[in-house]
Symmetry: C2
Subunit: 266 residues, 2 copies
């Protein structure tokens, strides 16, 4: 079995091939670190316009990096040789908003009118933060990033509406501005923070009890910084209770052929 060190420098296509052969079913954090990873939402065409509109109206939480043609599993813009039915390590099947199954292949669920939405993932800007000397606490502590429901209302579109989910990373006060600058360069992967400082301001009651992921240590002299999170569109789609929705399992992303820096502005 490949070590994570080997996987960090492997080409996206090679990793996707291992995933397709079910030789790799782990979370993708740390793999092909120079390449953009993506969240997945699959819906039937009848809901695709509303969901696309929701993403367009909420670019911070739903930064779309590719949308497949109805019926096609190929993400032509970001991985022309890829297939979103087999190349994510794990998927979740939701029926009427309820999680009914986790699978490693969705070929048997695929229908001719399905549309796949690939949404940018914060792994891209975490690499940029690291390159700027800002350590990522949940990586240091070997756990998942803490995520919180907030009181920040998303712009609704058709049946899709709800609040923004944010991820949180503690940063030393003297690097907080730098963290805002660095992530601002990447609007396609959530971009600048939505809040720095007091969790209560955005409706978070207890910073030590995230709604998703794991709690991390906030040290003396550090400030919690909140970014819009790719869990938002899934949470919102779940609320809308579509007959069938397929997503990636948390942390089990699609690895694209696009380098992180491609999405930076300036």
């Amino acid at each position: 079995m490949k070590s994570i060190n080997d996987l960090s420098t492997m080409e996206p296509k090679e990793i996707r091939e291992l995933v397709k052969q079910n030789k790799l079913t782990r979370p993708t954090s740390g793999m092909a670190v120079d390449y953009v990873q993506a969240n997945l939402v699959v819906l039937k065409k009848e809901l695709a316009f509303d969901f696309l509109l929701f993403c367009q109206r909420n670019p911070k939480s739903c930064p779309l990096i590719d949308v497949t043609e109805p019926g096609s599993p190929i993400p032509a813009l970001v991985a022309p040789s890829g297939d979103i039915r087999t190349e994510l390590p794990k998927y979740r099947i939701y029926r009427h908003g309820e999680l009914v199954e986790e699978v490693t292949d969705i070929t048997s669920y695929w229908e001719d009118d399905m549309v796949g939405f690939l949404i940018g993932c914060s792994f891209t800007f975490e690499q940029a933060l690291i390159n700027n000397g800002i350590k990522i606490r949940h990586i240091e502590e070997g756990c998942n990033v803490p995520m919180y429901k907030t009181n920040i209302q998303c712009e609704k579109a058709g049946i899709f509406h709800g609040q923004m989910v944010t991820s949180m990373r503690p940063v030393s006060e003297k690097l907080a501005v730098r963290a805002a600058q660095v992530t601002s360069r990447f609007p396609s992967v959530h971009g600048a923070p939505v809040h720095i400082g007091n969790p209560a301001t955005i409706g978070i009651e207890d910073i030590n009890r995230p709604d998703f992921g794991d709690s991390v240590t906030i040290k003396e002299g550090e400030v919690p910084i909140f970014w819009a999170c790719g869990v938002t569109p899934q949470a919102v789609a779940m609320e809308a209770k579509p007959e069938l929705m397929i997503t990636h399992a948390p942390g089990h992303m699609f690895i694209t052929d696009v380098r992180n820096e491609t999405y930076s502005v300036l």
Copy 2:
């Protein structure tokens, strides 16, 4: 009649009211200069998903700033009190890809399944260039910006496909990098240039014969800089020959309530 000087500092809402009352039917360049102006495309819902997808895949030429709910003429994100049926100074009606009429009000054409797409306009970044000491030649020469068809292929989506149209502004060689930096801050209004230098590289045969707009002087020591242009989505939609499409008339934009700087990143 208000002078352009009065109009430059008027509130968008006041200008839209004058437009609605048919007291203002001129091009909107120079009006409410601190606020974002937008190109308009109106299509029936049956084509809206494909067109939205086209915009999503071609963000440099089709930077969407708002999309109305099907049937609603209200651009809720950028001008909640606005109405796209009456508040643009002039509209063009296309049937099967042919221009059939210019009107100052589209209320009689409006149908319950129509969707309005507002697309960012380069007036926003021109103001930023001016603020950085970069003069805009077509403003100096009192004419329209020169626009050219290029060989740069857009990503297709459904029935929509075609080449990018670019606008061109000559900039002194020593300010060319600054022009690229300044406009990079505004990805929602076409962003960074797509080409600096030789027009032939992007398929432009004669820089003195633009496909749209007017020719401008390129002085000794200046380099032509090309940006993706908001005419692209109209040109592409025209190629697709939809039964009915409504657009703004060139230069006759919708003035939003959103300040230019709101769309800057960093």
